[in-house]
């Protein structure tokens, strides 16, 4: 197997990693606050269409920003439904996904005059070469050339995320709201704002991820371009046991799994598998993990449960 191909495959894998990791991190904040969010795919979809629109009109930075803000606003629907009205989290998440499909068609028609896609060539960032790594010998350096600056940003995000979750007042309270909301309330901390925050961050990151996909990866908006990556992010989150570091490892694995059918057809063993079976890997691995055949994953204790608030009212 030529190294040039491997380098190219890693480059694609890193792009997919960025999408899966950003979305998964969003899900992490939501679920650590106690709100299950299976609407990540829908939040990403809104990010793709809004991000592409923003980038076409004002360039890549406003595009990513608009994608993230749109995700945040759309996630508020989930927050209002689950936190304020205590609708079942799965019900609300499904609704988010269903509504996002229609909303995206509507917005696409509005922005691009076509319900299914924008014009191609959405303006994006100048690519960057990672110092040192991009000059690796053989074809391996290709993996780190012509990279979107969003990808290193996603990697670096791990540090502030860990800091926020384990060292700041907000992060600790957010986690306590997801583990034991009654105790959180007993300590005089209100649970609802924390959960709104968690869901809001999930929308922001999923929207950003969707905008990244439309602007930086495909340079166009296209109906169905998320291809279930929101669900793969959910899978990485579960497999990563709701920890940011392990989520990163999961996102790297699943990101490369996405790239194999595209670039590594002649790789030993895995190249012999039909592409479609390679694409199944993330899902199969997650089922095996959730069924407890290999290790045990442990979601936040109160995730998925409505918190009735002080006094039950």
């Amino acid at each position: 197997m030529p190294l040039l191909d491997l380098g190219a495959a890693i480059a694609i894998g890193l792009a997919y990693f960025t999408i899966i990791y950003l979305t998964g991190l969003g899900g992490l904040f939501s679920e650590r606050s106690g709100i299950v969010n299976i609407g990540l795919e829908g939040l990403m979809i809104v990010g793709t269409v809004m991000g592409a629109w923003g980038a076409i009109n004002w360039g890549p930075v406003p595009g990513l920003f608009i994608g993230a803000i749109s995700g945040l606003l759309f996630a508020m629907v989930h927050a209002v439904a689950t936190v304020t009205f205590r609708v079942d989290h799965i019900v609300s998440g499904v609704v988010i996904n269903v509504v996002a499909l229609g909303l995206a068609r509507f917005l696409s028609q509005l922005f691009f005059g076509s319900s299914s896609q924008s014009t191609s060539g959405v303006p994006n960032f100048d690519t960057i070469d990672i110092p040192l790594l991009s000059s690796l010998p053989g074809g391996l350096g290709r993996a780190f050339q012509d990279m979107s600056p969003v990808t290193p940003f996603a990697f670096l995000l791990l540090i502030p995320v860990i800091f926020v979750l384990s060292r700041t007042r907000f992060g600790l309270r957010l986690r306590s709201a997801g583990e034991n909301p009654e105790a959180t309330r007993t300590l005089g901390v209100r649970v609802a704002p924390l959960r709104y925050g968690g869901v809001g961050i999930s929308g922001t990151l999923a929207g950003l991820s969707g905008a990244f996909l439309a602007i930086e990866v495909n340079a166009l908006y296209q109906e169905g371009q998320t291809q279930g990556l929101g669900f793969i992010a959910l899978a990485a989150l579960i497999l990563g046991n709701w920890s940011p570091t392990r989520l990163m490892i999961g996102a790297l694995l699943f990101g490369f799994a996405q790239a194999i059918p595209l670039r590594l057809d002649d790789a030993p063993v895995i190249g012999a598998l039909p592409d479609q079976f390679v694409r199944m890997i993330p899902y199969v691995v997650t089922i095996i993990a959730i069924a407890g055949f290999v290790g045990r994953v442990q979601p936040p204790a109160a995730a998925g449960k409505a918190y009735e608030g002080a006094g039950g009212a």
Binding site: I38, V77, V80, A81, F85, R86, V87, D88, I90, V91, S92, V94, V95, N97, V98, V99, L101, G102, L103, R105, F106, Q109, L110, S115, G228, F231, I232, L234, A235, I238, P274, Q276, F277, R279, M280, P282, Y283, V284, T286, I287, I290, A291, G292, F293
Partner: protein, 394 residues
């Protein structure tokens, strides 16, 4: 959201008056108020969006209605759209009554389409045997796909929401593989991947010729025998849930697993059976498209029917009658889209927005209604206790 528009239940009513009302009537009233309020709220927000476009909401709503009901052929198209949604919503509802969330109808019906295609193109038989066999193949394929999350739930406790989501992802790749390999047509000249064309013996007959309505309903409206079958399925689901032992056990497990087990019901066995029934219903979802419309399986097959079915099930309150009505409403919105596109300057996608608004407000309104209900029941119970205490001392 929808809360404020809803007239609040009169809490200040004197206790005897409330107790005189029958509890089931009370419950029904709360439900009806919730649905009406949700519809009004969605229509109102929809009207605001329509007015922002400079169109009249009344005209748009009237157009939606007229375009889907004016002629028999329009009604046929509405029923065509409603057919798969009835099946998928029933599949969701059956599982839901047992406390299970089948997000996997999507993957189950996709696999069902694949197995149905295999039976359609690989086997040669006369229609009276072939067609039932193809339907059976779809049901079997979907049931296999439902069996995996079901058995994992029962044996390992793996949450069915996660496993069914993953099974959906696997299904898409599996069907893509099948279309690329064993099912790929040997005919050339097609741009997209597709299977062989099905023989007539594996095609679902249209309903119109049998009713003598060929004149009014053109063949382009793919209203087939699957629609009456969907109504029968709704009836059967009602019967199953309300008049059979399994239905009783399913509802018991769904509403209170602890008491169900204490009452001698095996939770695992019940969940497994119900999930398989849900999967069997999912098998019918793709058939109107596959056997009544396309006549082959192509890579651009109809998707999201499973997810829309979940929305229809919510809207229909997981009740067979509600589901049929909700599916018809979705059919009306889908058909009315063309009318909106022709008669107004609105993008046709406005109907999808109306759908979304409706689902959101209905979900919230039902949840509020449920809580109102619980509170009332608790109040009545308290009153009964207080009165009982008074009698004892008298």
């Amino acid at each position: 959201m929808a809360v404020d528009t809803r007239p609040a239940a009169p809490p200040a009513q004197p206790a005897p008056a409330r107790r005189a009302r029958r509890p089931w009537l009370d419950a029904l009233l709360v439900q009806v108020v919730a649905v009406v309020a949700a519809f009004l709220f969605a229509a109102l927000v929809g009207a605001i969006i329509i007015m922002l476009y400079g169109e009249s909401p009344f005209f748009v709503y009237a157009t939606l209605w007229e375009f889907s009901t004016a002629r028999l052929s329009d009604v046929a198209r509405v029923l065509e759209q409603a057919t798969p949604l009835i099946f998928s919503a029933l599949a969701v509802a059956v599982a839901f009554k047992c406390g299970l969330f089948n997000i996997g109808v999507e993957g189950q019906y996709i696999v069902g389409m694949m197995t149905a295609t295999m039976a359609a193109v690989w086997i040669e038989l006369p229609l009276s045997i072939h067609l039932p066999l193809v339907v059976l193949a779809a049901v079997a394929g979907s049931m296999v796909w439902a069996f995996v999350p079901a058995i994992l739930k029962v044996k390992t406790g793996a949450h069915e929401v996660v496993t069914t989501i993953m099974m959906n992802g696997i299904a898409v790749s599996l069907v893509a593989w099948a279309l690329l390999n064993p099912l790929r047509t040997s005919e050339t000249g097609f741009v997209d991947l597709r299977s062989d064309r099905f023989p007539d013996s594996a095609t679902m007959p249209a309903l119109a010729p049998s009713l003598g309505l060929e004149e009014q309903i053109p063949a382009s409206a793919h209203l087939t025998w699957l629609f009456p079958l969907a109504l029968l399925a709704a009836l059967w689901v009602w019967f199953l849930l309300n008049r059979t032992r399994l239905g009783y056990e399913a509802r018991a497990v769904g509403s209170s697993p602890g008491s169900a087990e204490a009452g001698g019901i095996s939770i695992g066995a019940t969940q497994l059976k119900v999930f398989l029934i849900s999967g069997a219903l999912a098998g019918f979802v793709g058939l109107n498209y596959l056997l009544g419309d396309a006549g082959f399986l192509g890579i651009n097959y109809e998707t999201t029917l499973g997810f829309t079915g979940i929305a229809v099930a919510f809207l229909g309150r997981n009740h067979p009658v509600g589901i049929v009505l909700a599916a018809l409403l979705f059919g009306v919105l889908f058909r009315g889209e063309d009318g909106v596109a022709v008669a107004t300057d609105l993008p046709r996608e406005i109907t999808v927005i109306l759908e979304g608004l409706l689902i959101l407000s209905v979900v919230v309104a039902y949840e509020i209604a449920r809580r109102v209900q619980l509170r009332r029941e608790a109040e009545i119970r308290r009153e009964v206790e207080v009165e009982g205490g008074a009698h004892a001392t008298a």
